[in-house]
Symmetry: C2
Subunit: 484 residues, 2 copies
């Protein structure tokens, strides 16, 4: 494999060698006697400085070397004369692959707003900020696969197109090849999906969990890592219509095992990013400080980025039951001073303001909330029988809450008793017959099992310190936008 | 992390310890004095034998221990008394988690046809064959990520829902939230997609390549690994409507670099599976021999599975131009004896019979075919200027052909010249304006670059020796079928 700039900057052994660097020009500074070209090939945040003495490269060629152009520069790699870099390239020959007209190329060396860069999402990976984000995204993704592989999990691909619509986790996108204007109709006037590609109505998956459970009850420990979809009209900095989910599912894991795994897993991938993306994270930390400079103190991040990440790694997550959390909220100053927008009482679905109070003000670290009221959680969660709560039935759910992000992981032990599961489905209005395949797992060789889901982009938000989820996925999809 | 059966079978240090094994029952053999239970927890193909002396477990409990049931068995791990296994579990206590009524559970210990198992795809991972396939699938998937990570590539998520319909790689699935029966119409009577979720017509991606090119021209080397979709009415053993593609895209790679990468990559992942899935592949090899026993000699695989894989690892792929391949075919016996169904002449799209002749009969190893006629290849492939062919223009394309599979990889150097690319788009009827974002990569800092696509399921077919692509993905999607 060819060497890249990250190799030349890292290994001293290249000094004295004649090399050819193929890269994009970030900036060019010129004087009468010499030109300095900052080269970046995407392999690292750091540029390699190319030094071109006057006369070495023809004037009309050097003129084409502008910000954004792509060149091949050949020369000797030498110890740097200036400060700020260890080596530089003393150019003896230069070829221009592709120009970038300074009057047309939008990424000139100046500050660009994130909003502007979002509009040119096809070019933004060429900026320092977005190349750093996408390198961190890669590294986190790799850490996910490495963690699960090293711990005996099998990668499982739940289907993307699904005929199952039972989970009810949100509104879905329909997948179809029917004539959009004149769909075939049945005698009763409804659309005849028998004529559709799959001979039934199909949608994009909202979660790979149910199919993941099938796999866990055969292979033991599995995880999915793939795209999921929600057709919700949410125009927020925390929601996407298309996002990547990581969903491990484990036979023979109870709620405690599930919590232990979630904490160990999320710490592992964050640590992996800290250890492997030092330059990128340091850059993103500076970016965040810069961005927050003009904000009032109480809107700034409480710690610099790397300190925040280290803090998560160094501390045990606080494990608290929902009932305890409600107690804490009822005793809290904002509740007593009626500062919460939403009322607090046992049975409510916690609002963002409540979660943030618990995580950021009270416990001051990641929190795992467990044993939520059954009424506000999904039908497949196992009812708690050991830890009876006088307010009402609870389920063995666990949500991991992170500072600044809120819920980053949602999971539970699954109901493995066929009769209880069927009864619960009927209660919430799901036809058990429509999910007979799912019930087979409880009918034959059922086992205690657990799992959770982690939204990959929310993890990237946390690790990069970015504020808008549209900035941590290459091409964000949200209402009224599916560009590129 | 808890230990699993694969750990107990592998590490001798557990002998003498009292352990609890949680697993599914594959079979039970009983005599008056003792019961032998074969336990499998999905972590490995191999079972752990549990030995229950008469009287140790109550009769009514032991009666529930049938094929497919799930149990926890506690006891001492001892050196095995019988042959065929190194250790066994001398049971002192046994708990049944989930029963499996022998009259209802379909996976009784007997031969099941692959067709039957396809109908119960939600249970088939519990069989030896499918658990082996899915462990191999996992291992190949992990090898893909490891190879690219170790070689400086960044994982890139091209969008799944796309507003781009320009590549024309095949028929597409529409993604919509419009009322299926009464879609909003414009004044001219056409469907008003401004009212749809994304305010435009959107489809499921057929390839992540174009967005991958954007990334390569910023980050250097990237790869995608995600689901892609084709709404083609193909009911074959080689096609799926939903399948996973791996698409690396590299700045500064020419056609030769691209071929070198493809060969090195595919050998790496196959070697990784051979080294890490020995038991599963040995089992699948036996399965294939068994399946082919009753076939005529000329329909059987020419080599046993592991020998075939080793053969691919040990041999250089044959690199041949399309023009040379046509020459070989014109000189071939089947052509001269008019045994080919389709005629052979320069300019044809090679048919499966031609590819198989080249790979299986003539060269007898994987073949990389290059320099196809421009007319039969995609618009984005770079025209060859150095190696001029008198029959007509060619492009720097490369297809890797595998025995038994046909095309497993398709790739090319990409056209990096803006004017040539625009001219070619117009020639094939693509509006350049509709892909202005894509053209920006050639407009600003264009660079020589290359890439290829590999269908993950075709690779799994090759490595597992399975004959039908519906058997190497958990839940296959094809015309008239989107079960589970």
């Amino acid at each position: 494999m060819k060497y890249q700039i990250k190799d030349y900057l890292r290994h001293h052994g290249f000094v004295g060698q004649t090399i050819t660097v193929q890269a994009w020009v970030r900036t060019k500074r010129e004087s009468k006697s010499v030109s300095f070209i900052a080269l970046n090939d995407g392999s690292t945040l750091n540029n390699l400085q190319a030094v071109v003495d006057a006369g070495v490269v023809a004037e009309d060629i050097l003129k084409l070397v502008t910000t954004g152009s792509c060149i091949a520069a050949t020369g000797e790699l030498i110890e740097s004369q200036g400060t700020g870099q260890s080596v530089e390239l003393k150019v003896t020959a230069l070829e221009v692959y592709g120009t970038a007209d300074p009057d047309a190329y939008p990424l000139q060396p100046k500050r660009h707003s994130l909003e502007f860069l979002r509009e040119i999402a096809h070019l933004r990976p060429r900026t320092n900020t977005f190349s750093a984000i996408f390198r961190v995204r890669h590294t986190l993704g790799y850490a996910v696969h490495k963690y699960f592989n090293d711990n005996g999990f099998f990668y499982w691909n739940s289907p993307i197109i699904t005929g199952s619509d039972a989970e009810g986790a949100g509104e879905m996108f329909r997948v179809t090849t029917l004539d959009p204007k004149n769909p075939p109709l049945k005698e009763d006037g409804s659309v005849d999906y028998k004529e559709d590609f799959f001979a039934r109505e199909t949608n994009l998956t909202v979660s790979g969990q149910l199919e993941g459970e099938l796999a866990a009850l055969a292979l033991g420990k599995i995880y999915t890592f793939g795209p999921t979809f929600r057709a919700e009209n949410s125009n927020t900095t925390r929601h996407l219509a298309e996002f990547w989910m990581i969903e491990p599912e484990m036979a023979f894991f109870d709620l405690i095992d599930n919590m232990d795994l979630a904490e160990d897993f999320v710490k592992y991938v964050i640590r992996y990013a800290v250890e492997n993306c030092g330059d990128d994270l340091a850059f993103l930390e500076k970016r965040l400080l810069e961005e927050e400079k003009n904000k009032p103190q109480n809107e700034r991040s409480p710690m610099p980025l790397l300190e925040k990440l280290q803090f998560v790694l160094d501390n045990d997550f606080e494990r608290v039951t929902y009932t305890q959390a409600i107690e804490v909220l009822l005793q809290s100053k904002p509740h007593k001073e009626k500062k919460f927008q939403y009322p607090v009482e046992w049975g409510i679905d916690l609002q963002s303001e409540h979660e943030r109070y618990l995580v950021e003000k009270h416990f001051k670290k990641p929190v795992i909330l467990t044993h939520y009221p059954r009424a506000i959680k999904a039908f497949y969660m196992k009812e708690e029988t050991e830890q009876v709560n006088e307010k009402g039935p609870t389920v063995r759910a666990m949500d991991v809450l992170f500072p600044g992000i809120g819920e980053i992981i949602g999971g539970s032990q699954r109901e493995d008793n066929l009769d209880k599961l069927v009864a619960r489905m009927k209660e919430v209005g799901i036809e058990p017959e429509s999910m007979d395949w799912f019930l087979d797992t409880r009918r034959f060789g059922s086992a205690p099992h657990s799992g959770f889901g982690l939204g990959f982009e929310r993890l990237i938000l946390f690790v990069t310190g970015m504020g808008n989820i549209r900035d941590v996925i290459p091409f964000p999809r949200f209402p009224k936008s599916a560009e590129f």
